[in-house]
């Protein structure tokens, strides 16, 4: 049965508390993971606890870490996340970028010694809600991607998030992996016993495949956005490289091609946050009105199929959030059992019925 969003967050928080995360960090981390589930980004919410549990079990997370500014200028900062889980440091970093953008027009914050921060979109939303343009990238722990023309894994799903304020509560918000699809969608096909559509995956020699077992079990890869060299997969590959240059390069962290990336005593990921005030260039309200008008002109485009109207990045997530706010957040049976087992093992209350 779907759970009310508050109960869903309370369950996440209860598990984090039972692992030893202090209450304030647990509440904020649960807010951020719960936001992802509310918005339909199920791969980056509650389900992440199964991965975090392994990191926690192996003693690789400082659950009581408090982010600290180690270097700053009026427009920049380096934040050390103290090897915490990532969400608290990431929200701290984006709020700091927004404050700097408020004061100086732009703020760029690099986060080092961090782990996984959940869905990029949450931090984009922090920027947009403050009337700022936002950009976010991060390194990732999993290596699923070969560079174009390559036959060995060197990159992750290395996301970009780009946001711009429009009408209040309705920003442009693009939150995208630089692969054609995220790994979770390949796993879904595997679980259903279905082939993957052409262009999603490669076998271990780097040749096109439609077998989800290739990346999942047989040493194959996800394709970079574009899908094939002929269809410009070098663009997804290049965007992935730049995500890592901004995140790992500016923080001095580990690159996904480094031996032992994310396999040391700590997770050692890196994030990048940029917030920019459109008011530096022109009246900020006029900017927002123009972005809203531009977005509406997309929504008003005659659709190929009237049953599938044109949407703007951010619209699908908001539609899911509206529905789940009313009807609750569903959890698949298999995931529910996994999370129940985690809660039981940690001695956390089970709240989801």
């Amino acid at each position: 049965m779907p759970s009310p969003p508050d109960l869903h967050k309370a369950q996440i928080s209860a598990i984090l508390r039972a692992w030893g995360m202090p209450a304030p960090q647990a509440a904020e981390t649960a807010d951020i993971l719960g936001w992802a589930d509310l918005h339909g980004i199920d791969s980056h919410g509650l389900s992440m606890l199964t991965a975090y549990a392994i990191w926690h079990r192996d003693g690789r997370l400082a659950l009581d870490a408090v982010p600290a500014i180690v270097k700053q200028t009026p427009v920049s900062a380096v934040v050390d996340a103290g090897n915490g889980l990532g969400h608290v440091a990431a929200a701290f970093a984006m709020r700091l970028a927004v404050t700097k953008a408020q004061q100086s027009g732009i703020g760029v914050v690099s986060v080092r010694n961090t782990a996984h921060f959940g869905a990029c979109g949450y931090y984009g939303m922090l920027a947009a809600d403050a009337g700022k343009i936002g950009m976010i990238t991060t390194t990732a722990a999993g290596i699923f991607v070969a560079p174009t023309n390559g036959a060995a894994g060197r990159l992750g799903t290395d996301p970009w998030c780009l946001v711009a304020p429009a009408e209040p509560g309705r920003p442009f918000m693009l939150d995208m992996a630089t692969t054609t699809v995220a790994f979770g969608r390949v796993r879904n096909k595997l679980n259903e016993g279905l082939p993957t559509p052409a262009g999603w995956v490669l076998d271990r020699q780097g040749h096109p495949s439609t077998d989800p077992r290739d990346p999942a079990e047989n040493g194959g890869f996800l394709t970079s956005l574009g899908g094939s060299p002929e269809n410009a997969s070098y663009k997804g590959y290049g965007l992935a490289m730049m995500a890592n240059i901004l995140a790992a390069g500016l923080s001095g962290g580990s690159f996904p091609s480094d031996p032992g990336h994310a396999r040391g005593p700590t997770i050692n990921l890196s994030h990048f946050f940029l917030a920019m005030d459109p008011g530096m260039f022109r009246d900020a309200e006029e900017f927002r009105a123009d972005v809203a008008r531009f977005a509406q002109s997309m929504r008003d485009t005659p659709p190929i199929d009237p049953a599938q109207p044109v949407m703007v990045p951010g619209d699908p997530e908001r539609a899911t959030a509206a529905r789940r706010s009313r009807c609750g957040i569903p959890i698949a049976a298999g995931l529910r059992a996994q999370i129940k087992a985690l809660a039981d093992a940690a001695g956390a209350d089970w709240l989801l019925g």
Copy 2:
């Protein structure tokens, strides 16, 4: 016969001078267009003169325009290009962004009342040569793209350029249209009487096609990067929207979905330039060394086919430039005849033999 790069530039400059562009602007514009041809970006060099000639004939270009700063802060500026061709204003804007990044850590410059600036990569190179990270976007005049699920043109090929310094002269440089391929590659297939590969084009109803005449003659479209909704074309579409938000939104210029976009008395395009100093975050030399190491780890990836080694964005363009520096810049017979006719009509010397 291929032309030496200097002669190639001199020919471009001679035609611009004959149209009435003052010598300094003509020299810089020729440098930038010649850079594109030297680096193999043939769609954005000499060949653009055929489009510029029409704009000039129709009195839509102020060829003697001088860019002017109309608003600025320590980290930002708005530049008015005075309805000039674009290249001079764009180089001025990126140099200004670099200067601000030198002084304040970051510089963001928005350009309004401009036209076409040639290849994005030139301006990225200005940032990288100064040791800066660079980002560039622009609006485009041509409407070739429908938003995902839409069946009417609302966007252009709306490029992004992302650069980061590495070894001197060997930066990471991604210069990409947000469509699967640029229009020129479709036109090449048309000229050769060949079908386009699956995923490049759509017919006028928005359905997949392999007929290059669909976008070229029959009201169809280029696909957004990704190629199809199933293969995440919303990502290319979203990147195109953000390119326009940064370029047109911040400058107050025209969006590609606006009625009459680029069809008024002036061209009215907009550009966006960002330069950022990695030295705000850590030792700049260590940053460059890390980017170089990351790039080299890509090049060292075992290739699918030993005849096609893995490259890093920027490598193919540099390889072409090295070859054309030695052997000259080739011009296809059809283009040569067109440019010769332009030169003759303008009363410009013909230098290319």
